[in-house]
């Protein structure tokens, strides 16, 4: 097919390291940095993206049709796609997989993505076992009916949670399916030694001829990033899954040979400071704007060795709907002070800034703290474990300000709506929710719903505009102070081949396992 | 006795000094002596006179870092010991000079088996194979008449009684047939019967191997029985030297005469007061003990149930009147100390103990403190019963402090006076227990017990470590206090001579029970129980002319006081054989 690299060689094995454990390889559950792209290689969904880009393309589906009202999606499935156990995948499997992921017993963290499918509420409430909106038309056709037009639906069909699983294997392993994953993907699981090693093996029956290139991928688990880099330098591994550790960044960049193997790319990521809009004094928009103007983003980026670009709006630059024209709040201490004075805080005030405790987040928080101090805001830092920060954010009276780093939004799929719902919309502004600024603008919620009902691909640009407007309005109310969009810097061994964008794939993080190859096989 | 004139050890002008906090002082001054092959030389003398220091100096084992040889030479044959380095000295120690230390309890390594400790020195100095060394060790144990020598090799020191430990020490010292054996108070810690055995053993061995022995002791009875020659020391100097018979018959030095005069003799009149009538009728006893039982539970099983018991004291009854001294005698392990401890409130007991009209059980805190003031105890082991980190002056002042007696200056004065009374100088108040000799420590303990002027003093072997002169002094002091304040004593001792000297009444204990009790005269002049008789016979006589050919020996092992649950020991019935002389039926 079109996407296969003509230079690619077949065969070879690579080694990749990760610090944290791989929790599960069940597509309905896995939601981590490490397992996200592994699952993508073991399973397939109806939709996918072109390697290294954010462009949607059909995957298990051969083609799809959208009804004019945008509420019915019909997918034609590819023939002859086989699960790793040899059975052919059919429309029944698609339906089963979606029933499964939305069933509360599965306890999937991604169930909410399917909220627009008819019958979702019944399933979620435990009143029904299957989604009434998903019907098997014939073994190779599956039809989705939605309760409202949903422009993101094709993206939803590409995220891991909608990947297709074989019923018999799920039932065989029950809750342990995540340890014995069986999918249709380019690789199949060959070995899993808990806490040590996961080995993927090429799926010889993969429907996409010519893929994958590699015979074997070994993931070594539990290694400190700094040690992983040492091993890379010694040629023992091929890709450090956690990237280049900050402490080694300068050293790597100073060495031309190593620098040549560094790949840089954008990410669907924004780092921001939330301000609790229900909590004085942040209930005053002027205060929030003042904070936006007080931050010296260039300095903050300097601290992380320039591995980011300044952000002025919630969406990252590579996201459709990013408003290039938007200038954002300038760095202007005097004006920020003036605004504070206008808001009735000429001498500033005391507050707290929460941040996650892993490097470099406490450092960034300290830089922010110093910037705030310059306009009189004395923020004390609470540097806590991830779960504690999340808990504080989900408590209405919990955290006045949170630096999002380490827990921040990395988009589930490349669509502007993905930055709104749970983190800026009213739906997320509930106890235990993820809208940490507790910003709830009914108006904008309505506008967002409107934008998401523009399903027609032809109107995509128009829809993006609508989203830009929404985010501009958000920035007017300034519940966040966007700080930067992190750039990904990764490294590979000299033998690794494939286009650079495969190594900073916006969707397959850290790399697109299916498409990379090694140069040293004959 | 072989009498080769050959000299084996020569000490010339030996000076040992110890460094204190503020400069050093000499504890052995200008000591010169010679030891001939096969000879037994006794060093006797005042406690603290430098006897142990001399012995340690010969071994080059003076306590570090305090003491050192400041002058003089020690020749073993032609070898000058003080000039030897540690490595070469090592070959001398154990092989040519062996030593038995004053404290048998602490001188054996608690974590090594007897066998290991015996064979290792054999292996260190000979080229014997392990099996041969083991054989030699067994022989050595047999030589000191330890039963079941082979199985003993696997035992550990704490599994042996005090007497056996001392015999192991001797076996260890003699295994290599050294030229010189130094025995520092080898019998002080032992009761009479065991003491007799040990001394006899030493003599036997010496005759067999021709070993030269330096025997340090303050017991003139032992000196008389063992020594060929005697050296009398005082204040670090030798005051007299001579043949044993000469010294006993014609002491030259004033101090020697004092020493000999002070020796308590059994059955002799020296210092023996007229036996007072037991004041049985006096209603107000100081202490009344009725049917005292002390049992130590030995636990076992999953739930830690008691499976066996040590019947340390089984139904002992006695009473002590004011002004009276009751002596408690008996073999090691018969329950003397335990009885004393019960009386002092240190072990749980059943039965009744009434002190000064108050029953000890069920007293409130303050009452108990008051009773404590009335009953004081002097412990068997003087070193162990003094807090090694306190100055002795503070230790003696402590009872006064606790009971809120006297102001600070008065306390100091009283302590100084007490020191004076027990024969210590008030300068020594500033020293720590380890800076004293064994006997000096015991005097500190006595001073401490006297501080509160109690109504009853329990003295557990409290004069056995003292040299006779001080012993006499202390005994006099005790009597003096009795006269002045009407103090009563429970006097525990294995030294029958001393007992005869001081006691009004005597109780003989065996296996936790009293087998004979009566006035001193009744018990000593007319011992009825065979066990009592044996005890009296075993006492060494301080007269070289009257050396017995053989010590009476206890052949069998002491029966155990440990029994299974439910197996109570047979209770002995005491019958009165006249005038309150109680004797148990034999059985």
């Amino acid at each position: 097919e079109d996407t296969v690299d003509p230079n690619a060689k077949q065969g070879g094995a690579i080694t990749i390291t990760y610090k944290d454990d791989v929790a599960t390889l069940d597509p309905a559950i896995g939601y981590d940095w490490q397992n996200w792209s592994m699952i993508k290689s073991l399973f397939d969904g109806l939709m996918d993206y072109e390697p290294g880009t954010t462009n949607l393309k059909p995957d298990l589906a051969e083609s799809y049709e959208i009804s004019p009202d945008g509420k019915t999606f019909t997918f034609k499935l590819r023939h002859g796609v086989k699960f790793h156990n040899g059975r052919e995948m059919t429309a029944e499997d698609v339906k089963y997989s979606l029933d499964r992921v939305t069933n509360p017993k599965t306890q999937s963290p991604g169930a909410g993505f399917f909220g627009s499918i008819k019958g979702y509420d019944d399933v979620a409430a435990g009143k029904a076992e299957t989604l009434s909106g998903v019907t098997v038309v014939d073994p190779y056709t599956v039809k989705f009916e939605l309760t409202r037009p949903d422009a993101t639906f094709l993206h939803v069909m590409a995220i891991n949670f909608s990947h297709v699983v074989p019923k018999e294997e799920v039932e065989k392993y029950g809750a342990d399916f995540g340890k014995h994953p069986v999918g249709t993907g380019a690789f199949k699981l060959a070995e899993w030694t808990l806490g040590q090693r996961i080995v993927f093996e090429r799926n010889a029956d993969y429907w996409h001829k010519g893929l994958p290139h590699l015979d074997k991928i070994t993931f070594e688990i539990g290694q400190e990033p700094i040690v992983a880099l040492l091993r890379l330098q010694k040629g023992e591994i091929d890709v450090p899954g956690d990237g280049i550790p900050p402490a080694k960044f300068q050293e790597v960049m100073a060495d031309p040979e190593q620098k040549a193997r560094v790949v840089e790319g954008g990410q669907l990521h924004t780092g921001y400071v939330t301000m609790n809009t229900t909590m004085a004094p942040f209930d005053n928009v002027k205060v929030r704007q003042a904070v936006n103007m007080a931050l010296n983003k260039a300095r903050i980026i300097q601290i992380i060795n320039g591995r980011a670009v300044p952000a002025n709006q919630p969406l990252p630059p590579s996201m459709p709907g990013y408003d290039k024209a938007y200038k954002g709040y300038p760095y202007d201490v005097a004006k920020a002070k003036a605004l504070l004075a206008e808001a009735g805080h000429p001498d500033g005030f005391d507050t707290q800034l929460f941040a996650m405790n892993t490097d470099p987040n406490p450092r960034i928080a300290q830089a922010i703290q110093q910037d705030l101090a310059a306009i009189g805001i004395k923020a004390s830092i609470q540097s806590l474990a991830q779960a504690n920060v999340i808990a504080a954010g989900g408590d209405k009276a919990g955290a006045p300000m949170i630096w999002s780093g380490g827990m921040a939004w990395i988009a589930d799929f490349p669509d502007p709506s993905n930055f709104y719902g749970p983190i800026l919309g009213c739906a997320g502004a509930v106890p235990g929710g993820w809208n940490w600024s507790w910003y709830c603008n009914k108006d904008l919620d309505a506008k967002a719903a409107e934008a998401d009902s523009v399903v027609d691909p032809a109107k995509a640009a128009e829809r993006d505009k609508m989203w830009s407007a929404i985010y501009d309005k958000v920035m007017e109310d300034a519940p966040w102070a966007p700080v930067f969009n992190e750039q990904r810097f990764t490294m590979k061994s000299a033998r690794m081949g494939g286009a650079d964008n495969l190594y900073v794939d916006p969707v397959h993080i850290p790399i697109n396992y299916d498409n990379v190859y090694v140069k040293d096989v004959q | 006795m072989t009498s080769t004139p050959e000299t084996i050890l020569t000490i010339a002008n030996l000076c040992v000094s110890v460094r204190g906090e503020e400069g050093s002082r000499e504890v052995v001054s200008n000591l010169s002596l010679t030891l001939k092959r096969g000879e037994t030389l006794c060093i006797a003398g005042e406690s603290g006179s430098g006897k142990s220091m001399t012995a340690l100096a010969i071994m080059q084992l003076l306590p570090q870092p305090a003491a050192r040889i400041s002058a003089g030479t020690i020749h073993l044959g032609a070898t000058e010991l003080t000039a030897l380095d540690e490595r070469r000295m090592r070959h001398i120690r154990g092989d040519r000079i062996a030593m038995i230390f004053q404290e048998p309890m602490t001188s054996l390594n608690p974590v090594l088996s007897i066998g290991r400790q015996l064979t290792e020195s054999i292996e260190a100095h000979t080229s014997l194979s392990p099996a041969e060394a083991r054989q030699r060790a067994i022989e050595a144990l047999k030589a000191v008449r330890i039963s079941e020598a082979e199985s003993r090799l696997r035992q550990f020191p704490h599994e042996l009684s005090g007497g056996m430990r001392q015999r192991v020490m001797i076996a260890m010292a003699l295994a290599l047939e050294p030229d010189v054996l130094i025995a520092d108070e080898p019998t002080t810690a032992l009761d009479v019967t065991v003491q007799g055995e040990v001394l006899e053993l030493l003599r036997d061995l010496q005759q067999k191997h021709g070993t030269s022995v330096i025997l340090i002791t303050h017991d003139m009875g032992v000196v008389a029985e063992m020594a060929d020659r005697v050296i009398i020391m005082r204040h670090g100097r030798m005051v007299e030297e001579g043949k044993t018979s000469d010294i006993f018959a014609r002491p030259q030095a004033e101090y020697t005469r004092e020493l000999l005069a002070a020796v308590p003799r059994i059955g002799s009149g020296a210092g023996r007061q007229k036996s007072r009538e037991a004041e049985a009728a006096t209603p107000a006893k100081v202490a009344e003990v009725t049917d005292l039982h002390v049992r130590f539970d030995l636990r076992g099983g999953v739930f830690g149930r008691v499976t066996r018991r040590v019947h340390a004291v089984e139904g002992v009854s006695f009473s002590i009147a004011p002004n009276e001294t009751l002596a408690l005698v008996g073999e090691s392990g018969c329950g003397k100390s335990t009885t004393a401890k019960a009386l002092a409130g240190l072990v749980p007991y059943s039965g009744d103990i009434v002190v000064g009209g108050r029953n000890l059980s069920g007293l409130g805190r303050d009452e108990r403190k008051a009773v404590r003031r009335d009953v004081q105890m002097i412990f068997q082991d003087p070193y162990a019963s003094l807090d090694p980190r306190m100055r002795v002056g503070d230790l003696v002042a402590e009872p006064l402090l606790i009971h809120g007696i006297a102001s600070k200056e008065e306390r100091r004065e009283r302590v100084a006076a007490l020191f004076d009374r027990v024969g210590l100088s008030s300068d020594q108040m500033e020293l720590y227990p380890h800076e004293f000799s064994g006997g000096q420590r015991q005097r500190v303990c006595i001073a401490r017990a006297l501080a509160l002027r109690p109504k009853l003093i329990i003295a557990d072997e409290s004069v056995s470590a003292l040299d006779v002169s001080v012993q006499a002094r202390v005994l006099d002091l005790l009597k003096e206090l009795q006269r002045e304040f009407g103090v009563a004593y429970l006097f525990i001792s294995h030294d029958m001579a001393v007992v005869e000297n001081i006691s009004d009444r005597v109780a003989v204990m065996y296996l936790g029970q009293i087998v004979e009790m009566g006035t001193r005269d009744q018990v000593f002049s007319n011992p009825r129980h065979p066990y009592t008789r044996r005890l009296i016979e075993a006492v060494p006589v301080p007269d070289p002319a009257r050396r017995p050919s053989r010590f009476a020996r206890l052949d069998q092992e002491i029966p155990s006081a440990t029994r299974r649950i439910g197996e109570a020991p047979l209770k002995l019935a005491l019958s009165d054989v006249g005038n309150g002389h109680l004797v148990a039926a034999e059985g």
Partner: protein, 306 residues
């Protein structure tokens, strides 16, 4: 002996029960809501409640604890909230590595620490003594992460004597054990020196000298066994300290032990794993104490198992 063990085991079980109760209670009181984490960012309140019910987290504390205990009896530690695997399986798969590391580390610290302490005590007051004590303090004061990386850098990267992290052969074990051991060695060296100095003044050492024994025999046969007793009592304590350091060392050396599991669980409040690891480490500590008590009579025959 058997009886003693039985009694001690009952006591140990009670301690474990206490540990489980306290841990469970503390985790119950923790403000972070596990259900929210399971349900994900886009979950509706309804879904959240549903999951809460499924996990029984809506039950009162006592009921929850009782459920936990009853499952515990059959060896079931529940399922991880985040990893979704059986906690028992997770722990069992990682335990051997941690145990191996523990054995290696304890061997290292004993070997290094005891010999340092011994030499220091024998050479008391000399330059050797002082150097050794400074070294032991460096061991105690040096951050383990740095020590680990330094060892890795020198011996694995530069000299290639050992592999750069990983698990499998004895060569993998050396550096992590050493890293853990250096800290412990500092402690043991200090303790050993202190107790050795005490022992060297005892009468029986004088006796041994009087027998003319060689210096080595005096030190190793007579003094060492006596001095080592307080050190043995340290074993239980040591396992506790070990549990603290294991996280760092395991992650530096990519050692697949329970330390990493625990650390990740703590960061994400994965309660079943925290409970499981807590119980396992408590068990190890209790066992360590027991072991110390059992060894003691072999070293010092005066000590009776009571």
């Amino acid at each position: 002996m058997i009886a003693y063990l039985g009694r001690r085991l009952i006591q140990s079980l009670l301690i474990l029960l206490g540990v489980s109760l306290i841990t469970f209670a503390l985790l119950y009181l923790l403000p972070a809501d596990p259900v929210r984490q399971i349900a994900g960012r886009s979950a509706t309140p309804q879904t959240v409640e549903n999951i809460r019910q499924q996990l029984g987290l809506d039950q009162p504390f006592v009921v929850q604890y009782w459920h936990y205990l009853t499952k515990l009896v059959s060896g079931d530690l529940g399922r991880s909230y985040i990893q979704r695997s059986e906690v028992t399986e997770l722990i069992v798969s990682r335990l051997p590595a941690s145990l191996l590391l523990m054995v290696g580390a304890i061997l290292c610290e004993l070997l290094i620490g005891l010999s340092m302490g011994l030499i220091a005590a024998v050479k008391r007051g000399t330059a050797t003594d002082q150097t050794l004590m400074v070294a032991s303090f460096i061991g105690v004061s040096a951050p383990q992460f740095v020590v680990g990386l330094l060892l890795l850098y020198v011996f694995a990267v530069r000299l290639s004597w050992f592999p750069i992290g990983g698990y499998g052969t004895w060569r993998h074990l050396v550096l992590p054990s050493l890293t853990m051991g250096i800290l412990g060695a500092g402690w043991y060296a200090r303790m050993m020196r202190s107790s050795m100095i005490d022992v060297l003044r005892q009468d029986y050492v004088r006796t041994a000298r009087a027998k003319g024994l060689a210096r080595g025999a005096i030190i190793f046969r007579h003094a060492l066994p006596n001095a080592i007793l307080p050190v043995v009592a340290m074993i239980g304590i040591d396992i506790g300290i070990f549990m603290g350091g294991i996280v760092v060392v395991e992650s530096v050396f990519g050692w697949p032990g329970i330390g990493q599991l625990a650390w990740q669980a703590i960061q994400r409040v994965d309660i079943p794993i925290i409970m499981g690891v807590t119980l396992v480490s408590a068990f190890a500590i209790v066992l360590g104490n027991l072991l110390a008590d059992i060894i003691a009579p072999f070293i010092d025959p005066r000590i009776k198992l009571r």
